[in-house]
Symmetry: C2
Subunit: 252 residues, 2 copies
Amino acid sequence: MKRERIEEIADLLNKRGRLTLEQLDDFFPNVSQMTLRRDLLQLEQQGRIIRVRGGAMSVKEVQKVSGEPYAKKSASNADAKLRIAQKASNLIDAGCSLFMDGGTTAMCLAKEMPDIDVHVFTNGLAVAIELSQKKNVSVTVLGGQVIKDNLSTASPVAKDYFENTNFELAIISASAFTPDIGFSCGSMIEADLLKMARQKAKTLYMMLDSSKIGKIMPHTFARLEDIDVLITDDDFPNDMKELFRQKNIVVM
Amino acid sequence: MKRERIEEIADLLNKRGRLTLEQLDDFFPNVSQMTLRRDLLQLEQQGRIIRVRGGAMSVKEVQKVSGEPYAKKSASNADAKLRIAQKASNLIDAGCSLFMDGGTTAMCLAKEMPDIDVHVFTNGLAVAIELSQKKNVSVTVLGGQVIKDNLSTASPVAKDYFENTNFELAIISASAFTPDIGFSCGSMIEADLLKMARQKAKTLYMMLDSSKIGKIMPHTFARLEDIDVLITDDDFPNDMKELFRQKNIVVM
DNA sequence: TGAAAATTGATAATAATTAACAATTTCTTA
DNA sequence: TAAGAAATTGTTAATTATTATCAATTTTCA
């Protein structure tokens, strides 16, 4: 009872980096704040977290290069991304081979990923490092020049590389989506990569949090009908869901 | 006035790890607690400290108490590695293009690297992320499967990749060295990569801390006479230095 | 020099944390 | 299995830390 809750809190903190007591309270509605406080105290004594005013933060989070732009960015819409990542992680079976991008949603997924025998291709450096923590996951990084603001790689030779590479599944996310423009992102070379990934994969899962709807970015890499499964959060509008379902796309 | 005080506080925190507001007040009797609070706030915004109830703690302190395997390893002989990295960083000029490996010494160098216009090729994920923090450094990661225990990549196709890649300088380090076996490391595929890097580079700098002397690892990637400059620490034995100098290798 | 900006200090208002104890649950072991 | 001990939990009150506010002071720079 207690033990499990404490482990859950530790997990949560490792994934989210930092939480307020109120947020914790939302996650554990059936225990009092005082209990959560006591749990945090215990975790602090174990050296696993740091209690700060208002809540606590994960030691691991602090150990990651502090102040990096990436860590900051990953905070936006963290709740939705976490839930999307959780859904996505349930769709991954042992023995499969998949592609993931290097975005912040992918990073959430990397943290949520079960430690099972899978092979992951990714162009995200942080994603690769996160996945390397797992014993059973093998990881391949696509080489290329590092894009500093999202710590992912992009390379014109990726195409050649993909020639001899096989994966059933691609799980990617977009920076923007509208029904007529489709899924788009800010960098052409990244769009290129994602396009290749989707063509190569048998099945394409798109992770899209609702804040991306209606936005347009310069480079489209997939149209609505290109995807097989849409993974999103609860705020995703119903009429939009219907649009996907009409094209036989699974929405979850 | 303010600037200095803030620096002093940061220093103090780095030395003491953690301080209460009262302790800080003792150190700075001529400013009010409120001022110290504001200083701490500012330091927190810079990501240099973490404010906790009652006071603050140094981020560096937290980073020390690490559990990750990579972070652990990088602690061994940290002093020597830091000094070696500092020496190496002075040898890097603006405008140059260089290769670095993904080892812990390279990681130190990445941290010490001046923020100047250089291009770095590396197979180290952590190295790449660290270098990405610098505005003027552009980074290319070599793709490949991730070796989990040192977070670097290795790939049989690296060879093809190197075909069209040019750099003047390779700065690498070895896991082991003896005069007759040469420089060696534990993984064949890594040895292969390093061999290619040294053949490709006009100049080869080897960073070798003295603890590596006399050790032998399975795969040799360079002989004594292959290198141009040896960068080492003060404990490096003199007779060994002489050996290098006889071959016209600069020892520093 | 003199006005604007930044820094600082004192106090009040707010919020978070701890302390204390009773109520509940879980664990022993007779 | 039932009584008692130990651990866990919740509620409230007390304490403490933090933030907000505004006036006073210092610094900056035109």
